[in-house]
């Protein structure tokens, strides 16, 4: 699998570590109700198809990426820096 790191270019997935769905970026507020935290930590859409997920370029530039990927075909269609995804809101 090739991950198109915005900083390094397309790199072998061996350089990366996947974490899980990009919803990990949507951390609830400290005082959000418990259900919001349960959703955030545990519940998943878990799509069979296109998804957005977090990969860490640990053996590369150290960037966390939001990768667009299909869970059925494994086709990777894009990647952005998690930092920029957050900044874009």
């Amino acid at each position: 699998m090739l991950i198109p790191c915005p900083l390094c270019g397309a790199r072998d997935s061996r350089e990366f570590t996947p974490k899980g769905h990009a919803s990990y970026l949507d951390r609830p507020a400290e005082d959000a109700p418990p259900q919001a935290w349960n959703d955030y930590l545990h519940l998943r859409e878990n799509p069979a198809g296109d998804t957005r997920e977090l990969w860490f370029h640990g053996a590369g530039c150290g960037a966390w990426l939001v990768v667009e990927r299909n869970t059925v075909s494994h086709a990777v269609t894009g990647a952005r820096l998690a930092r920029e995804v957050r900044d874009a809101g």
């Binding site: 090739l2 974490k19 970026l25 959000a32 860490f56 075909s73 820096l81």
Partner: protein
Amino acid sequence: MRVDGRGLIDRSQPVTFKFDGRSVTGYKGDTVASALLGKGVRLMARSFKYHRPRGVLTAGSEEPNALLEVGQGAAMTPNTRATVQEIYSGLTVQSQNRIGPLDRDLLSINDALWPFLSAGFYYKTFMWPRAFWEKLYEPVIRRAAGLGRITRDASPERHEKAFAFCDVLVIGGGPAGLMAALTAAKGGADVILAEETPELGGRLLSDGQEIDGTPAAYWVEDIVKELQATGRVRVMTRTTVTGAYDDGSYGALERVARHVAPADDLPPECFWRIRARQAVLAAGAHERPIAFPMNDRPGIMLAGAVRTYLNRYGVSPGRNVTIFATNDDAHRTAVELMDAGVKVAAVIDSRTGVTAKGDYRLIEGGQVIGTKGRQGLRQITYRAGSRTDTLITDCLAMSGGWNPAVHLTCHLGARPVWDADAKMFLPAPGAVPGLTPAGSCNGAMSTAACLSEGLEAGKAALAALGRPAPQGVSLPEAEDDPGRTQALWYVEGKGRAWLDFANDVTTKDVKLAAAEGYASVEHMKRYTTQGMAPDQGKSSNINALALLADSTGRGIPETGTTTYRPPFIPVTMGAMGAFAEGHGFAPERRTTSDAAARGRGAPMIEAGLWFRPSYFPAPGETTWREACDREVAMVRNAVGVVDVSTLGKIDIQGPDAGAFLDFVYTNMFSTLKVGRARYGLMLREDGHVMDDGTTARLGDHHYVMTTTTAAAGQVMAHLEFVAQGLRPDLDVRIISATEQWAQFSVAGPLSRELLNGVLDQPIDDESFPFMACGAVKVHGVTGRLFRISFSGEHAYEIAVPARYGDALYRDLVARAEALGGGAYGMEALNVLRIEKGFITHSEIHGRVTAHDIGMQRMLSQKKDFVGKAAAARPGLLEPGRERLVGLRPVEAEGRLTAGARLFKEGDPHKRVLDQGYVTSVGYSPTLGHMIGLGFLRHGPECEGQEIVMVDHLRKVKTRVQVVNPVFFDPDGGRARG
């Protein structure tokens, strides 16, 4: 028998090898199979279940029958295809899966028992009495099953593994592959051309054809020269592409030196990981056998294989050959044999209205319905119309048509598509992104069509790469008749008709599976084991599913195929796992003091990828305990030195560094004064403890975090995630500096005295109080000093750039020894920390909360931090949770063991009454008895109680008292003092 004037073998170079102890001489270029056939040896193997005599069926890697053990002793490799193994002088091969000599295998008794060994018979018996399965049935079955042997030693062979990259990977060097490679290379692409056999040309070398009016083999020679002239083609012969993976990733196995005598400077095999921007699959096709009664005797083989033996190896597998054909292609076998002077008894064609292509006897509308010959074919019986007759023959060349080798197109999950006209499964369009099938693997069954598809595939690859089609590549002229094929999957008749030769699956088995309701193709496969042998059903799966389709009244497309999985051919594990033997499995990380510690005789133990000294034996000490006790006392009474460089050291800088640390730690760090360090507790977002360590503030915007050795990588990734993903609003940058700094702990009452000997500016309590930190000069070198303690003693950690680590360590230890102290190791470090109740990952094992380890007060109420919300879940706060306690034996000599369980006195030792467990233990020379840390329901609430520690495994039962985990110096005066 050898045939003059044919073959690519070098008759000037005879080669002698051993088969089952007998010397056999063939020629350079021969495989074991061709050399044996050249000598008239047809019996090469025994079948898996019935132990029937078998010869070769094929001439390629898809061979189901002729599997051999190659080599001797620890290097012996089983299950090697006689059709692939090239011969060399000194080669030793032997037949396998037999008891006694090959021609008198005792297990051939199974063949007489065949009526009782039908598909799935073992699911229906061997159930009584129950205990007999492990004691009797299974051992007998295991011994009878299996194929070749491996010895339990490591092989002396050393394979390799490598990466390769190209614009276009061409898989297969036959007519389609050659044209594709030439086109791509001339178009400016970098090409890897992988060919399974030793020679490029594919079936052009097996079939006597002409291209552009010259013999095809000459045309191949010209093309190979042209390929070389481009300078862009890397030809990899003896290389099989084994799997297609995501994004143009392919696995390939190269048999680098399997064809020559073992040599030290050559790996036998190499496993390649190839990344190709585009690929062309030109893998060819596998010929189909026909499942007629008793079709498995040595001498019965595929018609195409007979041509390969004739034209590639100069061998005729028989002196009097019969051809059983369902198609035009197989008639070539007769023509070419006759051209070579081999007698052809007849061509039996299942079709009618066929014209002979030569002067041979043609039996139209015929089917072979029986054979004779115990260890090799002697006679066949055929039926043509209402007539039944026999023929004396020693070789039957059969052809049921061809199956395109679609395998790689299915590796990403696509299913092949049934072509009802051509009677074959073809690659699904777009099955593997970037992979274009061409030639007979794509259903092109004439040479002209293969050449044309190869050219087009090369162009398509170039187009995908954004390159124009090249000038000067023209399509050569070749035979353009794909021939006609009749579908004939099996022939009804008396006796068993084999589908899967390798697993001894017959038509009866498939019919039985269908009758018993195992009607899905996957059920049939799994119930009968059809296609599960080393050849993965390459020559048999399609016949079997066609029979299943007929037996269940469904069509072939509705029945479908089983799943084609990688690898395409079996891959030597030693190649796929090359370099991992012994220490190669993982990198070794060594601290700067490694050589000094080893020099002092310290046994080194693994700490993750690092090595750390276990203890430093002194003269006269005979056990590790003596050394450990001495080292602990040394630290408590004088001074000790230990390398702590393996702990993660993370440099954190930026205006928001303090706010960042406030967010990743449960406690406050923005309030920490410059020049001070603080213990920090870090949670996962799920509220459980991730790690702990001290973090020092070196400047307004500069902190250095230490992590545990075990969690250094995890914490680093976590910090980056928080910084980039959760708090991009914070201006902070993070980098690991673990390898850049050598860091040593200097601990004990004399630690300052020692340090002042190496520091350019001496320190005192005022300039460097407990938890102080700062830059220092060490023998003129800028370093860092932290007054922190993991032993409870007055202690420091001193850090210098790694290049000075070795020198400083040796200096520190020498000075310590002069003060009555010295180096200490992990054993003593562990006892020292248990005495103080300090935790490690033995305690924070991933299931504990701050509350469980008594650190609930470190959860700041003033701010949000990672893990705060989840840590407030009711289940994580219950007082009845297992919480950290200290444990001491009630009797001074009582033994504690880590991993033991805790029970209330008098309770039966049942899970439901379990109260907790012991995590860390050690003998405290300071206190004179063993001490332990553990987790106990209600934890600190039980302090003072006597309970029972039970270790069934080590047969230890000890009465223990629950105490505060801080065994020594509870008010911490020694560290501060």
